[in-house]
């Protein structure tokens, strides 16, 4: 019992803080439009109420026995002016709404971009966080709606307050009746609303799946496989079945609710009937003018409409509240900066992994278990291991995309957590295993690694020479300004898998640093290019530390030191000759490939 109370209270606080958040966000998005919108709302609420009142005076003025024409004319004048103003305001409201909508969207988009790109990489590994992020992406309208419905609630409340007082003055019983008759309607609505929320959470993943299946049909990356195996019919069947199941279930519930809600609404109309009869009685008794009759009837039907409005706005508001909590959870995720230290990393340090144990969030087993090794400055290191042994994970830990659960990673004896995280990353040049096929001008694709230098053609040329990308772009008329991909231009150039790898390598070289990390640099490269890039690495970049992951063991033969990873730790370590002499896993893997060339 007590706990429930606390639960309720915290739910209330959460709602309150969500409201605060919603209002603050909408205010920050555009102060000017926010204030204008508030004024507009005020106008919208006040004018009809004033007009109803004026109308009473006008009618009474026309039909009253003794005429006070001066007052009536004044009322009429104000009434006309206000009506006219309202017409003008309609024209502006639209403008205001659309402009505010744009500003708010821009603001929220930027917020989402900022937050997503600054939070930990592990964010993408968790389905529930992924749900939240997608919520933000799809539901940036929630904050907008929150503000909108807040406005609507405020308008309804202020409207109701004034109308209610006015009705109260006429007849307290009618006022009470109007409110009481709507209570069952409100309850049914609230219950249904709760159900819709529940449903949304339950069905969220199914709906994401439906979207996934829809996107499959339009995704160029899926194109070849889907056509090859004739999968379109299959995917549309799966999608349609999923949709039909959900829809039918929801439809049944919705129907039950509609029936109930309409019945209760009819009950609510009784107060209207009562008002007519009571007003008529009052008129007959001579206590009410004919203008007063119409005034009362208008008031009561307005009160009822406003109450109904309030109920639906409140429900919408609560529905958004739930989504907003999700968005705020996401926004409150700690940015990477917060885990960052302050020190600047040394240039070309000694790198040490000391008893490092790591598993991915939510994963069942360790990827690395008590893994230790040392990389001396300016050494060439080869990293070898079977698929799934954790080679790429090592790199992610070194860059602090993830932090190990146990053990530490040291640069010159200092834990990497003490360094500034972005400076730490900037001290490496890296080629990731997965090269992203960006749809941007070539210049930007290469310069992503040092975006401030985007306009430096000299540097771009040097990076292209080092990676072999100069061969690819030799006959491109637009040079570095050629757009790749067909995302937003029709004549965008498309590169082959190997060429993409070369361009990614150019990006790694574009960024100056003393340490180079290459994850499978030659996976899709032809023998000549492969030879060239390793020549570059071992001869020309000899003053730098390098770490190369490769399954083509010929590429790491020349390394100063080869680390063989397996079972989450370093199994073998030494130069090529030492490892061959040892006759272990490395020797086995090497001879498997070498034998084919004999």
């Amino acid at each position: 019992m007590k706990q429930e109370k606390i639960g309720n209270r915290s739910a209330f606080f959460r709602l309150a803080s969500n409201v605060f958040f919603g209002v603050r966000t909408s205010f920050r998005a555009s102060k000017r439009y926010f204030i204008l919108k508030c004024l507009d709302l005020l106008f919208d609420t006040a004018v009809p109420l004033i007009n109803i009142r004026l109308w009473k005076e006008i009618l009474d003025g026309i039909f009253a026995q003794e005429k006070n024409s001066c007052a009536v004319f004044l009322c009429l004048g104000v009434y006309c002016a206000l009506t006219f103003l309202r017409h003008i305001e309609w024209g502006f409201t639209n403008y205001l709404n659309e402009c505010y909508f744009d500003e708010l969207s821009l603001y929220l988009d930027r917020l989402q971009m900022e937050k997503t790109s600054r939070c930990d990489l592990s964010f993408y590994d968790q389905a529930n966080l992924g749900d939240k992020a997608r919520q933000v992406q799809q539901n940036s309208y929630v904050i907008r709606n929150m503000t909108w419905s807040l406005f609507r609630i405020l308008a309804a409340l202020s409207g109701i307050a004034t109308t209610f007082v006015a009705v109260l003055l006429f007849n307290p019983w009618i006022a009470l009746l109007t409110v009481v008759l709507l209570i069952p309607y409100a309850i049914v609505n609230a219950r249904y609303n709760g159900r819709v929320l529940e449903r949304e959470t339950e069905q969220q993943r199914d709906f994401r799946k439906i979207t996934y299946y829809s996107n499959v049909f339009r995704n160029p990356d899926y194109l070849s496989e889907l056509r090859l195996n004739g999968l379109y019919a299959h995917f549309s069947d799966v999608r349609h079945r999923l949709w039909d199941t959900i829809f039918q279930k929801n439809e049944k519930e919705d129907f039950r609710y509609t029936r109930r809600s309409i019945l209760l609404m009819i009950v609510g109309t009784l107060s209207y009937l009562a008002t007519i009869l009571l007003s008529a009685a009052a008129f007959l008794a001579g206590t009410l003018s004919i203008g007063g009759v119409q005034y009362n009837v208008s008031l009561v039907s307005r009160l009822r409409a406003q109450l109904e409005n309030l109920i639906s706005s409140l429900n919408l508001f609560l529905r958004n509240d739930e989504r907003l909590t999700m968005i705020r959870d996401f926004i409150d995720l700690a940015p990477e900066k917060e885990k960052s230290g302050k020190k600047l990393p040394p240039s070309c340090p000694c790198i040490e992994f000391r008893h490092v144990t790591f598993r991915y969030p939510n994963a069942k087993e360790d990827v690395l278990r008590d893994c230790s090794f040392v990389i001396e400055p300016r050494k060439k290191i080869g990293l070898i291991g079977v698929n799934g042994s954790g080679k790429s994970t090592l790199i992610k830990l070194l860059f602090r995309f993830y932090d190990p659960q146990e053990g530490e990673i040291l640069l010159n004896g200092t834990d990497i957590r003490e360094y500034d995280v972005y400076a730490l990353r900037a001290s490496f040049s890296v080629l990731f295993q997965e090269c992203v096929r960006y749809s941007l001008p070539l210049r930007e694709i290469i310069a992503l690694s040092d975006f401030a230098q985007c306009g430096n053609d000299e540097k771009l040329r040097a990076a292209c020479r080092a990676s072999g990308a100069d061969e690819i772009i030799r006959d491109w008329e637009d040079g570095f300004d050629s757009v790749l991909g067909r995302f937003y231009v029709d004549n965008g150039r498309d590169l082959s898998g190997g060429q993409w790898q070369i361009v990614s390598l150019a990006r790694a070289y574009f960024h100056d640093s003393e340490m180079i990390i290459l994850d499978e640099p030659s996976a899709s490269l032809d023998p000549i290019t492969e030879d060239k890039i390793f020549e570059q690495l071992y001869r020309r970049e000899s003053g730098k530390t390098s770490l190369t992951i490769s399954h083509r063991l010929s590429n790491t033969v020349r390394a100063d030191q080869i680390l063989v990873i397996g079972d989450g730790k370093v199994l073998e370590e030494g130069s090529h000759e030492e490892l061959l002499a040892k006759g272990g896993l490395y020797a086995h893997l090497f001879s498997l490939q070498a034998d084919k060339y004999r």
């Binding site: 024209g91 900022e114 590994d125 549309s236 109309t269 150039r493 899709s524 023998p527």
Partner: protein
């Protein structure tokens, strides 16, 4: 004239979608609208009668029936509106779903080249957003009918009261309706013309929010740079649309003044009539009520029709353009595909659509049943393009491809594709179950656990994977749709894609860079299985690992879209050309140091 035709065609389309999705519910919706409108008119009239009765000092018992009737009519009006709006919610969902299904069906029949183009992407993205606008056209028509009915009824009553004033009143509402229709048209054109710009902005957003470039973003701290680009791109668009909007607002306010003046003139006229004693209190309520109804209905009608017209002509035109695109295999194929015997490229030339550079020049070769073909070449020489042409994802721009001696275009394209088990260089990673990931290459056999396991074993990934699977073959891969989903390394994914190719057990095996991410052991396994597969199977392998070429019966070396060298491993070594150089480059690295 053609626009009217287009509009009617759009209406027809919308009706057929709605009818298919909702059937009789559509009729019910229409009837409810009529009931609601009628009830609104009746309510206003009853209200006048009640007021007049009260003013005439009618006693309560005599007043009661009239008052009850008024309440009933009000109830009917509100119930009908409420019910029709719920019905509309439901109908809308169903119609939008039906529309999406039509789009999906048509998209899947279109040539690959279309989907892979900018125009295709923009069109199919845009059309998706039209779902509501287009399906709603027919419902809007019902709405317009009911609004017209309300307007007409109210107008007739007003006209009977005073024709000139009614006409004046009507005339004054016309300009604002016109403005909204013109604005609808302009806004749509503006949005369409600017959609490439908006796409560009959304691309910068994609970079910062999608998992694909997430590591680059963090590595290079790209947040600020990309946000700036997004903001300037999007900001420029917003400034432009704001200008358009401001102009429109100016006109709206002007025309609103006119219609406002109309309302006032009518109001003052009514009041002056009342003052002169020609109108009772009920009649004032009646006429002002009907004037409001007439004006609202007329504005709703013109507004709704204005937008409908824009959607039905502009947006629908894009939809019909999409429908009129030629499907991938337009004519029913004439020739029945017998067992595979040979495949030949006959002077094939190819240039990708929208580009100038020819990728393949005059390419000719033949592949006979049982052969093992190895395709080598430097990066960008057109190897993967050969695969795309073979599978008819693109059509050659010159020359022909022959299957069993006949042009490949004479066969049913689906039949041709059934011949191939393919591992693509950029294979798909389905965030679905492991069973889906393997079995999707042959749906009919997808439920055969044993065969799926065989394929996984053959590619060598099952030993690794087995203990990680929470639900066996039905475990989800990746955490996208499940918290217990299994995450894999790139090499493991490649092996699963290979298992998918094996599972199909088609006549021709086609591997494009099968070992790019594989460790030595797995590579050895794949190469061996390629050379040791059954005699009657045919194989094509594309790889930079020249060691694999020795296992092939014939090697083709592509250079700049032409065949530079052709022969067996020994023949090509003897020739001492590019192939020999490739081989030596790789061999030397393994063997020179080993001897030391």
């Amino acid at each position: 004239m053609p626009k009217i035709k287009l509009y009617f065609r759009a209406l027809r389309f919308s009706f057929s979608v709605q009818w298919k999705a909702n059937g009789l519910a559509l009729v019910l919706y229409g009837s409810l609208l009529l009931i609601a409108t009628t009830a609104t008119l009746v309510t206003t009239r009853l209200f006048q009668m009640v007021l007049d009765a009260i003013a005439a000092k009618t006693q309560l018992p005599a007043l009661l029936p009239l008052a009850v009737l008024l309440a009933l009519s009000l109830v009917l009006q509100r119930a009908a509106r409420e019910f029709s709006s719920r019905l509309n919610d439901r109908a809308r969902q169903k119609a939008i779903e039906e529309y999406e299904r039509i789009l999906i069906r048509h998209t899947s029949s279109l040539p690959a080249a279309f989907i892979d183009s900018k125009a295709g992407r923009i069109l199919s993205e845009e059309l998706r957003h039209y779902n509501y606008n287009i399906t709603e056209l027919s419902v809007s028509l019902l709405f317009q009918f009911s609004e017209f009915y309300a307007f007409f009824a109210a107008f007739v009553i007003l006209a009977r009261y005073h024709l000139p004033f009614a006409l004046l009143f009507l005339a004054l509402t016309v300009p604002s309706s016109l403005v909204s229709a013109i604005y609808a048209d302009k806004t749509d054109r503006f949005r369409w013309e600017n959609s490439p710009d908006r796409q560009k902005a959304s691309y910068y957003r994609w970079i910062l929010t999608d998992p694909t470039p997430a590591m680059d973003v963090r590595m290079y701290n790209l947040t600020d740079a990309m946000t700036d680009r997004y903001t300037s791109q999007q900001g420029a668009y917003l400034t432009r649309i704001k200008k358009l909007r401001a102009k429109h607002t100016l006109f709206t306010v002007l025309t609103s003044c006119i219609s406002g003046a109309g309302t006032l003139v009518f109001l003052l006229f009514t009041i002056s009539e009342a003052v002169a004693g020609r109108l009772g209190v009920g009649s004032i309520a009646l006429y002002t009520g009907y004037a409001a109804t007439a004006m609202d209905s007329f504005q709703n009608l013109s507004f709704s029709f204005g937008w409908s017209w824009v959607y039905g002509t502009r947006k629908a035109a894009r939809l019909f353009e999409f429908f009129s695109l030629e499907p991938e295999a337009p004519e029913p194929p004439a020739r029945k595909l017998e067992a595979f015997s040979s495949l030949a490229f006959d002077h094939v030339r190819f240039t990708y659509p929208h580009t100038e550079k020819e990728i393949l020049h005059d390419l000719s070769f033949t592949l006979n049943k049982g052969e093992r073909l190895f395709l080598a070449g430097i990066n960008g020489s057109g190897k993967t393009t050969v695969v795309k042409l073979l599978l008819r994802l693109y059509e050659p721009t010159g020359g022909r491809i022959l299957l069993n001696g006949h042009p490949i275009t004479e066969y049913d394209v689906a039949e041709v594709r059934k011949l191939f088990s393919v591992l693509f260089q950029s294979f798909v990673r389905y965030p679905l179950t492991l069973r889906d990931n393997v079995g999707l290459s042959d749906l009919a056999r997808m439920d055969r656990d044993e065969e799926i396991e065989d394929a996984l074993n053959e590619s060598g990934v099952y030993d690794d994977l087995r203990e990680k699977l929470p639900d066996g073959l039905d475990s989800m891969m990746t955490r996208r749709f499940s918290d217990t989903g299994v995450e894999l390394s790139k090499g493991q994914w490649q092996k699963i894609a290979i298992a998918r190719a094996y599972f199909k057990r088609a006549e021709i095996i086609l591997f494009d860079e099968p070992s790019s991410a594989l460790d030595a052991e797995s590579e050895d396994r794949i190469f061996r299985s390629f050379s040791e597969m059954a005699e009657e199977k045919t194989g094509i392998m594309i790889s930079h690992r020249i060691s694999g070429a020795r296992l092939a019966s014939r090697i083709l070396l592509l250079e700049d879209g032409r065949i530079a060298e052709e022969g067996t491993h020994e023949e090509l070594l003897e020739k001492n050309g590019l192939y020999a150089r490739f081989f030596a480059l790789q061999r030397d690295k393994y063997l020179t140091k080993e001897g030391v």
